[in-house]
Amino acid sequence: MNLNISFGQYCEGNSILHRMDPRMKIIASILFIVVIFLAKNLFSFALLILSAVVLIAISAIPVRIIARGMKALTFIILFTSIINIFWIKGETELVSFGFIHIYLEGILNALMIALRIIILLVGTSILMTYTTTPIALTDGLEQLLAPLKVLHLPVHEFSMMMTIALRFIPTLIEETQKIMNAQKARGADFSTGSLIQRAKALVPILVPLFLSAFRRAEELATAMECRCYTGGEGRTRMNILHATSKDYLFCAAFVLLGAAIILLNRLGGYALAW
């Protein structure tokens, strides 16, 4: 079994995007998602593709890395679009075989859905994961959600949980690997046998893993207490987020992009059924 997952695949760099306020990047991502779903015809899709290319260019993330990230999701992209080929009914029937009918509209739709997913993944991963460290992301989220504290929602606790989870994922993965190796050395077999047998083989991994996770949690709580942690109250931060006018302009660009897409939708051409 391979547990080599690269989490929060932050990609070191110094582009405008890397230096941007994480709050603005979160807002921009949400705007971008909305814009993607506004696009309805070939013209607006062309503009979307162009904007994704511009994003890649200013992020200075190597295309190779982005492509590798996409490759992992090929199955999901193919699956959703292929379903569409069979699903959508249209006017120009291309294939008719028993209960299977494939229409030109279906194929075009499938293509656009695939494009939408790809653009969405590329856009949000560039804005949020490739150019933003997990800690900046949780900080940004905490501050964006800060107004909800009025409703007594545990915003600080939530972001602390996220930070600690992100911190401990690699540690626990490493530990799982160690326990598995130890069990393998004692003759455990995780890759053959029936499903039930394999599930049973996982028990001797999960039990020690959970025990150690609880022990770690207790030790960490003590250590945090010793470092005067008493929750979010009265806590300050070393890195204060501040949005510059550039950051606001960046968000405004996405609003403009949305407006442009709506205009282009009116130009006619093929319209997406969804």
Binding site: E219, L220, A223, R227, C228, R235, R237, M238
Partner: protein
């Protein structure tokens, strides 16, 4: 009365037993412990497994409260009835602790963010936190790794990050509970050098709990614990010149002391309190020479 400085930590007649849940009679983890730690000193605490070292450390960092007796931090009785949450926080600003497992005390996903965690909890202004973080990383020699992810560091480096996190809070006293135990020899040396520098150069009081004798001899004072009591307390020379007492409680002595002890038993006139291998070799050579001359 003579002018004496208030000890940074003082423990008076302290006893403690962990509560048991199955109706068993609780066994004392600490019994009538008296200990006073002078500001600026470097104290090693020795004792075999289960002798109560960690329990003592947890008393001093106010994680546990004594059953009887008291813990005084900087002249304030922290076991008094009227101690508030604020007082405890205040004491924690003076005494910090570094634990055994470096993995379980690092909170953040970036080194400098973790070092900033403590000062952030103190509510300091951002610029002040920045200054302290940079200073603390410099002090432990981890400036180069400020933007790294902690899980990619070596054990010794992680432990130095944990130490920086404590230094950045400007603690006057740091307790190290077997902070070198999980490290390889190189990591152990890195951390010991850092600890020693903090004591000598920054005048931070150090309490170092360890199983390694060669680390213990670097302190000004060695406290030996056995079954929840203090057995020996003195300078390394005083403590290690009684190897039999230490062996009785299943502790080692530095290798040099052991060698010299056996020399002495076979009739050579040597001192026992030599911890440097070269000095030890000289002492033995001198003893053999004078022995031969006497013949």
């Amino acid at each position: 009365m003579s002018e004496t400085k208030t000890p940074i930590i003082e423990i008076r007649d302290l006893s403690f037993a962990y509560p048991t849940d199955d109706g068993e009679a609780p066994k004392n983890a600490l019994t009538n412990v008296n200990l006073s730690i002078e500001e600026g000193s470097f104290v090693s605490i020795l004792g075999h497994n289960g002798s109560g070292k960690s329990t003592l450390a947890k008393m001093m960092s106010l994680i546990l409260m004594p059953d009887s007796g008291s813990v005084w931090i900087d002249g304030k009785n922290m076991s008094a009835e009227d101690i508030t949450e604020e007082d405890v926080l205040d004491a924690r600003r003076k005494v910090g602790m570094v634990f055994q497992n470096p993995d379980n005390q690092i909170v953040a996903t970036v080194v400098e963010e973790d070092v900033a965690f403590g000062p952030e909890n103190l509510g300091l202004p951002s610029a002040e936190i920045r200054r302290r973080v940079d200073e603390a990383l410099e002090m432990v020699g981890m400036t180069k790794y400020a933007r790294h992810a902690p899980h990619n560091l070596s054990g010794g480096q992680k432990q130095r990050v944990a130490i920086a996190g404590i230094i950045a809070m400007r603690r006057r006293c740091i307790i190290f509970d077997e902070s070198t135990a999980m490290l390889d020899p190189a990591g152990r040396r890195e951390v010991m050098d850092t600890i020693e520098r903090l004591n000598r150069e920054e005048n931070i009081t150090v309490l170092h709990i360890t199983h390694y004798m060669n680390e213990a001899v670097r302190a000004d004072r060695v406290v030996v614990m056995d079954s929840g009591r203090i057995l020996l307390d003195g300078t390394p020379s005083e403590v290690f010149s009684q190897p039999e007492t230490l062996w009785n409680v299943r502790l080692d002595v530095p290798q040099t002391t052991e060698l010299l002890y056996h020399m002495k038993k076979s009739g050579y006139n040597v001192r026992l309190d030599i911890f440097d291998p070269d000095e030890c070799a000289e002492e033995i050579a001198a003893a053999i020479r004078s022995d031969r001359d006497a013949d």
